[in-house]
Amino acid sequence: MDSLHRDETNNHVEAALKSGRSTVVRRNKAHLYGTMNANVSEPVSEAAQMDGLLVAVGKHRDRGAFQRLFDFFAPRLKAYVMRLGAADDVAEELVQEAMLMVWRRAETYDPGQARASTWVFTIARNKRIDAIRRAKRPEPDMNDPSFMPEEVQPADRFVEAAQDEERVKEALKNLPEEQAELIRQVYFQDKSHRVIAAETGLPLGTVKSRIRLALKKMRLTIEERDNAGTSP
């Protein structure tokens, strides 16, 4: 990349970081992101900068910002799809396609709703599945006349998203190894609980209750459902 792009990037990145989520969150509840963003003297972590960079790509088609996103995400995405079984060259191609999608869809990224890493994860997940099936992965569509919107829009999605983020991070660290391993198998090895049960010889019910326990510990399911219970 030439130096012109670099300079452009720095300006845009700064602007993006200012207009992006870090400030929005600070305005709401700075402490949710810990000292990372609230304390100005400490540098913002590399991962946290990605949100602002993605905003810069969306707003300004900033190629320098895009390169930094690529440098951060492409090796991670390649590792991700390779863990899921793709050979090196196929993985490379999938990452290229996913990053091209990141470039094209960046305008629709809303830093108040999700971290850049979550947004990029969903794009890569879908690209990989589309490639395997040669068909589009089905997803709910907000513009679908049948779509049921939320009754009440939560007043503060930013805060909620940030709280979730922190909760997941903490909980994943403290999860017993047995449960953490199950979660990794589902996300990084493409194994459903049926496949895990068939491979390990554990009863399906055991695998399911371990996964459910992990989800409960991380408070990832909606509370009233945890109480109501959904299975017989």
């Binding site: 969903t122 709910p140 589902v186 459903s192 459902r225």
Partner: protein, 227 residues
């Protein structure tokens, strides 16, 4: 709003991209009608994002080949290929039933029209062919049950059956299921659903057979092979 939801493990598999093609359709259809489960899936996707982000150390990541970024730069300005409209975009695949988009799209992409078969006792079934997947024990179909009729009592032989109501409703020993609700049946549940009086009940059913592996699975390895 639905009150009977898919089990949380199902939502996690959907969010992680580990669900079967049929289960993806059913879960996506439920999500279209259920803001509660959408929120859970959103959280589960955050977990995916967090895990991706934490692949940070040198052993974890895999470098792209040199020149990968430059090759990508050349594609940035190319016009995007417009998604091709499906051939049957204007056709209503199941008249009289308000289908959530994931099911509607699936039916529109079928190569042949739905073939309804009479299963007797006021029940008809139309099988929906699925994309190739390592788990070929999964079947997906639409069910049409005449008012007041009972679906034959059955068990699931080690697998599971998820049934989502699209129109009308039915009851079993666990409750009453209406549009958007998902019933999970497994070995422990010998269910005897009876359709509501007064309206034909239409459901999407995904049945997983008994899955047995004899060795390590080459799941995606085979699916990733180029044809």
């Amino acid at each position: 709003m639905p009150v009977h939801h898919p089990e949380p493990e199902r939502l996690m598999e959907y969010a992680a991209g580990a669900a079967s093609p049929a289960m993806d359709v059913l879960i996506a259809a439920h999500l279209s009608l259920c803001p509660t489960c959408r929120k859970t899936v959103e959280r589960l996707e955050r977990m995916g994002g967090h895990m991706l982000e934490s692949l940070g150390s040198d052993e974890d990541v895999v470098s792209m080949s040199p020149g990968a970024f430059d090759a990508l730069l050349e594609k940035l300005d190319l016009p995007e290929e417009a998604p091709q409209a499906a051939a049957g975009d204007e056709i209503d695949p199941l008249p009289g039933v308000d289908l959530p988009a994931p099911i509607r799209e699936t039916l529109r992409n079928l190569e042949r029209p739905l073939e309804w078969r009479n299963r007797g006792k006021g029940i008809e079934e139309a099988e929906i062919p699925l994309p190739v997947d390592v788990d070929d024990s999964v079947r997906m179909s639409l069910l049409r049950i005449q008012p007041g009729r009972a679906v034959l009592e059955h068990t699931h032989d080690g697998g599971e059956e998820l049934t989502m109501v699209l129109a009308g409703g039915f009851s079993d020993e666990h409750g009453h299921y209406v549009r958007g609700d998902v019933q999970t049946g497994d070995d422990e549940l010998i269910h005897k659903p009876i359709a509501d009086e007064g309206e034909v009940c239409v459901c999407l059913a995904v049945v997983e057979g008994n899955l047995r592996f004899t060795g390590p699975v080459g799941r995606v390895l085979n699916l990733f092979m180029r044809t």
